[in-house]
């Protein structure tokens, strides 16, 4: 498997991971779907490595039914304004997964058709799965009550 977006290839526990260049993610996914038969996108998620840099990893789990193979793509993003191109145009199923990552980690997906919060209320502040987001505490105080 060779593509200009692949930076590194790792193998662990019988699972293959490709570290990819974030700016070519759509290009690579289109290639993998068309040429390598990865017709399914199982999930998109992220990991926050706060305070390390680069802070975020966006993870794509791909699956090929025909080849009975799974593949993990990993794109590393820096803190600040983390953003990556949306793969919705390759797999429509990426839609909700990317919304979830946006909701939970605050990572933007460029060209996403409807990048809104999905699990948290629409006017929520902060991104709960970030490591610097507190587990305990009250969000609002009610001074008038």
């Amino acid at each position: 498997m060779s593509h200009h977006a692949i930076l590194e290839e790792q193998q662990a526990f019988g699972e293959k991971t490709l570290i990819v260049e974030p700016k070519h993610i759509v290009d690579l996914c289109r290639h993998l779907k068309a040429e390598e038969k990865f017709v399914r996108l199982s999930a998109v998620t992220a990991v926050d490595w706060h305070p390390a840099t680069p802070r975020f990893e966006v993870i794509y789990h791909l699956h090929s039914i025909e080849r009975n193979q799974r593949l993990r793509l990993k794109a590393r993003l820096d803190d600040g304004q983390p953003a990556i191109d949306s793969v919705c145009e390759v797999w429509r199923g990426a839609d909700w997964y990317e919304r979830e990552v946006f909701d939970m980690f605050g990572i933007r997906f460029r060209n996403h058709p409807n990048l809104q919060r999905i699990l948290m209320p629409i006017d929520w502040e902060g991104h709960p799965l970030r490591k610097d987001y507190p587990v305990h505490g009250y969000k609002y105080s009610y001074p008038s009550e």
Binding site: A12, R40, A43, H61, R70, R72, R92, G93, G106
Partner: protein, 412 residues
């Protein structure tokens, strides 16, 4: 209260772009279905745009049952997080236990003895029966066949009694633990499971007698709820939905885990791709699950019910009273938990609703660094706009039921 709007809030509050007025376009009525609607089986809200009685656009709104399980898992030790995996999907709790245990065991690289593996398979299949029974009962109830519900819950009660016998709990069993099982299978379990499984195939005949050639059932389900296989693959739909569209793909066969390769069973497939074919697929899956349970019962290997991993599995009570090491291990596991080597794995299993995949990242400490739960309902609910488009509102109830989602599983 004047709080400054941060940039994210502005992004999320941004109103959707209004479509230009077209005087010849039909007038659509917006109908809000849910969040509390009996046929959504949980707390799902769907915004329907209707032209007469036909749904032109359906937009699901989820998140009402979001409880932050993934964040909570990061605060627990590896062993404590098992109890949270139960609560993801109350009908497939053992599948969730199993996938979590398998993933962590992959990171720990510990070997599970055959008896524990076979018991896990048996329990996972019992929970598949449990889930399909609840699905069949409530789905038939939605469409108007009330008696099926009572038949299904009669058998479900037997399964819950078996769960209680094994684990002490009827629903949140947490029976499959990292390194094996929570408890040794109880004395006399063979009698209880044997009695149930000998009677079960004739019970499935009863459900089929009630429904298979029932003209009302057939007219409510045949040709209803079509969604093309390409759309389903693109949207990430898995499980009986996809097998009802003719794709023979089951993770138990394609990527066997927990010694499923040693069991003899078929993967039922139907090609009509409607509510009726999904019903047929699930009923045949119940027969196949019963076959697997029977094989597990008859061929159950002898031996240990947990791995030989003293740093991970709690020691026997008797040993703790006589052996210093056992007492030390017990103290260490209970007070600080065990450490899992740094790394990441993705493990998936075939749950009643489709592919459950846990992506687990460890940083080498005694708590999970990140757990992502790829739940089948999340992807299946995502397909609802395509599934419901251009169906009648009355048919949407049948179509929704055939997806068999659990909202806790969707929202986590």
């Amino acid at each position: 209260m004047n709080r400054p709007l941060d940039e994210d809030r502005v992004a999320t509050l941004k109103a959707p772009v209004a479509e230009p007025e077209n005087p010849s376009a039909p007038r659509l009525m917006t109908l809000n279905m849910g969040p509390q609607h009996p046929s959504t089986h949980g707390v799902l809200r769907i915004m329907l745009e209707l032209e007469g009685e036909t749904i032109r656009k359906a937009q699901p709104d989820i998140g009402f049952l979001h409880t932050g399980i993934e964040k909570e898992c990061e605060q627990k030790t590896w062993q404590q997080a098992v109890t949270l995996t139960d609560r993801v999907d109350y009908l497939a709790n053992l599948s969730n236990n199993l996938v979590y245990a398998l993933a962590v065991e992959k990171l720990l690289q510990i070997e599970i003895p055959p008896r524990a593996q076979w018991t896990r398979v048996m329990m996972a299949e019992l929970s598949r029966l449990n889930s399909h029974l609840v699905w069949l009962g409530t789905h038939a109830l939605d469409i108007g066949a009330m008696s099926v519900f009572f038949y299904c819950f009669r058998e479900r009660e037997d399964i819950l009694r078996i769960f209680e016998m094994f684990s002490g709990q009827r629903m949140m069993t947490s029976y499959i633990r990292i390194g094996g099982l929570a408890l040794e299978p109880p004395r006399g379990w063979q009698t209880a499971v044997g009695k149930f499984i000998r009677a079960f195939p004739s019970k499935v005949d009863e459900y089929e007698d009630l429904l298979n050639s029932n003209p009302i059932w057939k007219r409510r389900t045949q040709g209803v709820g079509f969604i093309s296989l390409e759309d389903m693959l693109d949207l990430g739909v898995t499980g009986p939905m996809i097998r009802g569209a003719g794709l023979k793909w089951d993770i138990r066969k394609s990527e066997p885990y927990s010694s499923y390769e040693k069991f003899d069973f078929e993967v039922p497939v139907h090609t009509e791709n409607d509510v009726y074919s999904r019903y047929r697929v699930r009923l045949e899956e119940m027969r196949q699950s019963a076959r697997i349970i029977r094989q597990a019962l008859e061929g159950m290997p002898e031996g240990a019910w947990h791995a030989d991993a003293p740093k991970v599995v709690l020691p026997d009570r008797e040993k703790m009273k006589t052996q210093m090491e056992a007492l030390i291990y017990h103290f260490k596991i209970v007070t600080e938990g065990f450490r899992v080597p740094a790394g990441e794995v993705y493990q998936c299993v075939e749950a009643p609703r489709g592919e459950i995949g846990y992506y687990i990242v460890s940083d080498g400490t005694s708590k999970p660094y990140r757990i992502h739960m790829r739940t089948p309902s999340f992807a299946n609910v995502q397909a609802l706009p395509v599934l419901l488009k251009d169906t009648l509102i009355a048919d949407s109830i049948a179509a929704l039921g055939s997806v068999d989602f659990v909202l806790g599983d969707t929202d986590r």
